[in-house]
């Protein structure tokens, strides 16, 4: 038997992951030793600092192209780019989590274990500052995502999947308002997420059975050369895809999305909508492009059907929604469909366009949820759409910014939404997937309707007694909203900055 040897690790290349894990552990320690009064400031600063430091490390690694840790981790163009994207989006989401001015004590519950509705719960709902554990939990999630997009073998990918999923389940349950809804959402997310993880793991096992290895390079080689019955491989890929498509919120694995988006505290929803999407699509891209590239002919039609269903069902169901967070959830499902179109376009153009879409969409969606946080009344956020009537008269600035965000979702030019749609559709037509583009166009038309309805609500209806006032945002939400809208505009008007970056990064190491 061979002697066990520790693999050599390129520490510089994996530094961003290590920084985030380290900071998360430090956050746990902080929770134990720093007095309660100072915890929020310390934890938030620590989280922001760690994210910025991770981002800085990512930038210094921009040209790294290595596999390290015995081939378990690949730091290449897409990995570095997606890690940068995750960190940048996480930074903005953390700002939203840090907001405490909108609601006394912030968006998070102080003690999640207290029974909902009990006297203690009423007391804690009033003023007590919320949990500060959310920051280390988020840092664990971010670290897991960083590893997820860089994982070069399926087991590492599975571990990363769990590392970033478990904290998300927890975060979902921590809403200060509507706690039962929040806990129910978390439970749903946890159960369905566990099933998805189990499918993923089973898929890994089947692929191991076929290829005799779990690293993507060997899988690729085995798929190309092995003369074994490929049934195991196909079944494995299908199971693996279920796990990944669940995270991307693709139909038919999307059912958790609206409930979880609605129940989770809004900053967490923003975090999930932006960062989880990047992580999930990053891993999907790597699995399909690196591990199963030779099979692309076999899986493209099936994934194509999934993409079409995702776009159409997401768009159609968005039309019927009356709650703004559920509307955005279905819109995010439809957007997962557009992203899948980019993934299936295959080749460098498909990869680059998908990565562009992820970043552009991430910033826009964070901006959208920042607005959702601001529009509130005595009971917290005003989720029901009818409450938004006449917002344009009451708060023209916020309504104006939200209109711009909605126009971006609808893909009107001069916004990043248009450029990203153009990019993925262009790549798909180039890759011969015209049918996906036709479905994309049709679903875009349907999807324009709900967005337009919100615009109509805000501007063309007259305000009523029930129209909530827009809270004066604190500095953190202002910053997050400004960044979200500014990036949406910038990437719409001058997309070359990011397009060049994505096309430069669009190559995996094998």
């Amino acid at each position: 038997m061979d002697e066990l040897k520790a693999p050599s690790i390129d520490y510089a290349a994996v530094a961003p992951i290590l920084i985030l894990f380290g900071a998360a552990c430090l956050g746990v320690v902080t929770e134990a030793f720093v007095p309660r009064r100072a915890r929020h400031a310390v934890q938030l600063s620590l989280a922001l600092l760690a994210t910025v430091a991770g981002l800085a490390m990512v930038i210094t690694q921009a040209s790294t192209r290595v596999t390290t840790a015995a081939g378990a981790v690949a730091i290449d163009g897409p990995a570095v780019f997606l890690q940068g994207a995750i960190l940048a989006l996480a930074l903005v989401s953390l700002l939203l989590m840090g907001e405490r001015k909108l609601e006394a004590g912030g968006a998070f519950v102080p003690q999640a274990a207290i029974t909902v509705g009990s006297d203690a719960d009423v007391r804690q709902a009033a003023r007590t500052p919320g949990l500060t554990e959310v920051y280390p939990i988020s840092l664990f999630a971010i670290a897991g995502m960083l590893l997820f997009v860089a994982a070069n073998d399926l087991l590492t990918m599975f571990i990363a999947l769990e590392v970033f999923s478990l904290p998300l389940y927890l975060l979902c349950a921590l809403a200060r308002r509507r706690r039962l809804l929040s806990q129910e959402a978390a439970l749903k997310y946890f159960l369905l997420g566990s099933y998805a993880s189990a499918f993923f793991l089973f898929g890994v096992a089947l692929i191991y059975g076929f290829a005799g290895a779990v690293d993507l390079g060997s899988v690729r080689a085995a798929a190309a050369e092995s003369d074994r019955d490929p049934l195991l491989l196909y079944a494995g890929l299908a199971m693996l895809s279920i796990g990944l498509l669940f995270k991307t919120a693709a139909v038919p694995f999307h059912v958790w999305t609206p409930d979880v988006y609605q129940g989770a505290p809004t900053p967490v929803t923003a975090f999930m909508a932006a960062c989880t999407k990047v992580a999930a699509f990053g891993a999907l891209l790597r699995v399909l492009y690196v591990g199963f590239n030779g099979l692309s002919w076999d899986f493209t039609p099936i994934l194509g059907v999934v993409a079409v269903l995702t776009m159409i069902i997401g768009a159609v169901l968005a039309v019927t929604q009356t709650d703004i967070k559920r509307l955005l959830a279905y819109s995010s499902i439809a957007n997962a469909g557009y992203l899948l179109v980019g993934v299936l376009a295959s080749g460098e153009a498909g990869l680059a366009s998908t990565m562009f879409y992820l970043v552009a969409y991430g910033f826009t969606v964070i901006g959208a949820f920042a607005v959702v946080m601001l529009v509130r009344d005595a009971d917290g956020e005003a989720g029901h759409l009818s409450r938004w009537a006449g917002l344009g008269r009451r708060s023209p600035l916020i309504a104006g910014l939200f209109t711009f965000i909605l126009l971006a979702f609808a893909g009107i030019p001069m916004t990043s939404g248009f450029i990203s749609k153009f990019a993925v559709f262009g790549a798909a037509i180039e890759g011969g997937q015209t049918w996906l583009v036709i479905a994309g166009v049709i679903s875009s038309i349907v999807l324009a309707f709900p967005y337009l309805r919100v615009v109509v609500m805000m501007w063309l209806s007259d305000p009523s007694e029930a129209t909530p006032t827009v809270s004066v945002p604190g500095v953190f939400t202002t910053a997050a909203l400004t960044i979200g809208v500014a990036m949406t505009l910038l990437l719409g008007v001058a997309p070359s900055l990011l397009l060049d970056l994505t096309s430069g990064a669009a190559e995996f190491v094998q």
Partner: protein, 508 residues
């Protein structure tokens, strides 16, 4: 290239004005109005300079400017105009100040911000100029779509009853066309080897199937915009509730983007497909002429009536374009200009009447000429121009379209001629029921009806009336400019004018 960058300045200038006006305080509406008017007159001056810089006998696309935008995709800010685009720019520059003056009091009573209303008008002007000035397909598409946004808010925020429905319908219809065009634009880009430059795209070869699909993508967007039958149903709704200023721009200019797009993009880029689909387009055009005219006869709402007349006129323009003769093509382009003047005038005058009466229903009028004789006279004149009475500008264009079509396609020309009869019916009956006949006693009660046309309104209608008469007798300044462009377009589709061919054959 060393000359003044007219087109980019012309595109950006209204937008700058819009930003300035939008941020004026709500309490200073007068300042916003005067500033907007002055700004639009400045743009008119710049457009006159542009006209003078254009060489009617020169190259097809002139005053070209190009700046890189998204080099990775081959997208540039390329501006250039041919004669057709030039006359449309002129029409915009002339109509916008008139519309601003006509809309002077329109936003006052809406309870919404007056400066924003005028800022939206300027923003709309900017996108309209951009759409005609673009010579890069991507850039054209961007303006084509962005144009929806200011118009949507103009209709939705400042329109009459049912404005939300009309605004959303307008937006969705246009977006549907726009998204199909987007797919075609991407397809063209892939087929053309990653370029969006109009001139380069006219040179590419593609298979007949590809060409037909791409043609349909573009044509659908333009047919909705124009609007051609059966994609027209948004216009009566939008035109019916739009405030008079925005409505005049909608039927006067915005619609022309559709027919302009067909001339500039469908025909030269997809000549074979254009010939293939021409019979279909001709039939749709004729149906539009007759069907919309019949519906116009039956309307009881003045603004909707004008909208339907507009759809009928677009049938003529469509027939003129797809007849594929230089004569009919010239007539069609001339019609685009004259329709802007005549229907613009009609819409504005109707707006003045409606503002006085407080209702757009024809049945609420009757003998209004007794109270406002001058305004009634202007309405009559606008009506005559709209039905293409000889001596008015639309007559020349309608005549050219029909003559040019007759030489190649007699049945279509003959059916289209029926449209003229119907036009006389709906215009004259409308005039009769509103300003002539026995006075409606209710009118005496209405405060507004005691005020005949004001000085401001005279300034609004005078230039339009003058132009309609002048171009009715002397269209040469316009035809000189559009003729070379139309000829070039007809050559693109390989149309040979029948008259000379017939002579040479006879000579043999």
């Amino acid at each position: 290239m060393s000359s003044f960058p007219y087109l980019s300045v012309l595109t950006v200038a209204p937008l700058v004005g819009a930003l300035v006006v939008a941020f004026l305080p709500r309490s200073r509406p007068e300042l916003a109005k005067w500033l907007t008017l002055a700004w639009s007159l400045g743009i008119l001056a710049l457009t006159v300079a542009l006209w003078l810089a254009f060489d009617a006998g020169g190259e097809r696309l002139q005053l070209r400017e190009s700046y890189p935008w998204i080099p990775g995709w081959g997208v540039n800010f390329t501006f250039a105009v041919d004669g057709i685009a030039l006359v449309m720019l002129m029409l915009i520059a002339v109509l916008v100040p008139i519309v601003i003056l006509a809309a002077w009091h329109e936003a006052d009573a809406s309870g919404r911000s007056v400066p924003v209303y005028f800022a939206l008008l300027l923003a709309l002007e900017s996108t309209m100029i951009g759409v005609f000035a673009a010579a890069d397909v991507f850039l054209f598409y961007v303006f084509f779509e962005v144009m929806l946004v200011p118009m949507y808010f103009l209709i939705g925020s400042y329109g009459g009853a049912k404005r939300q429905y009309a605004a959303v319908k307008f937006f969705l219809y246009s977006l549907v066309g726009g998204l199909f065009m987007l797919a075609a634009v991407i397809g063209l880009w892939v087929a053309g080897g990653k370029t969006f430059d109009w001139a380069a795209l006219t040179q590419i070869d593609m298979s007949a199937g590809t060409e037909r699909w791409l043609f349909l993508g573009f044509f659908l967007a333009f047919a909705i915009k124009a609007p051609f039958f059966p994609f027209h149903t948004w216009l009566p709704d939008a035109g019916g509730v739009a405030p008079a200023g925005a409505g005049a721009l909608l039927v006067g200019i915005l619609d022309k983007v559709g027919t302009f797009g067909i001339l500039r993009y469908c025909l030269p880029l997809f000549p074979d497909a254009s010939r293939y689909f021409a019979p279909l387009a001709l039939v749709l055009g004729v149906i539009g002429i007759i069907y919309a005219a019949l519906l116009a006869v039956g309307q009881n709402d003045l603004k909707r009536l004008v909208s339907y007349t507009s759809i009928a006129h677009f049938g003529f323009i469509g027939v003129g374009i797809f007849a594929f003769t230089t004569q009919a093509g010239t007539g069609a382009v001339l019609y685009m200009v004259n329709h802007g003047l005549a229907t613009g005038l009609l819409f504005l005058v109707v707006g003045m009447l409606v503002a006085r009466r407080g209702s757009a229903l024809i049945s609420d009028f009757g003998g209004a000429g007794k109270y406002v004789p001058l305004l009634a006279g202007v309405l009559f004149f606008a009506g005559l121009a709209s039905l293409a009475m000889p001596g008015t500008a639309p007559f020349v264009s309608e005549f050219l379209v029909l003559i040019g079509t007759f030489t190649v396609n007699k049945p279509i020309a003959i059916i289209a001629t029926l449209g003229i009869v119907l036009a006389a019916a709906y215009v004259l009956w409308m005039v009769q029921r509103t300003v002539q006949g026995t006075p409606n006693p209710a009118l005496a009660e209405v405060e507004g009806m005691r005020r005949d046309i004001t000085l401001r309104e005279k300034v609004v209608v005078a230039p339009l009336i003058a132009m309609i008469i002048v171009f009715g007798f002397y269209p040469k300044p316009i035809t000189d400019v559009i003729n070379p462009a139309v000829q070039a377009t007809m050559q693109d589709v390989g149309a040979t004018d029948p008259a000379p061919t017939a002579i040479t054959e006879a000579a043999k």
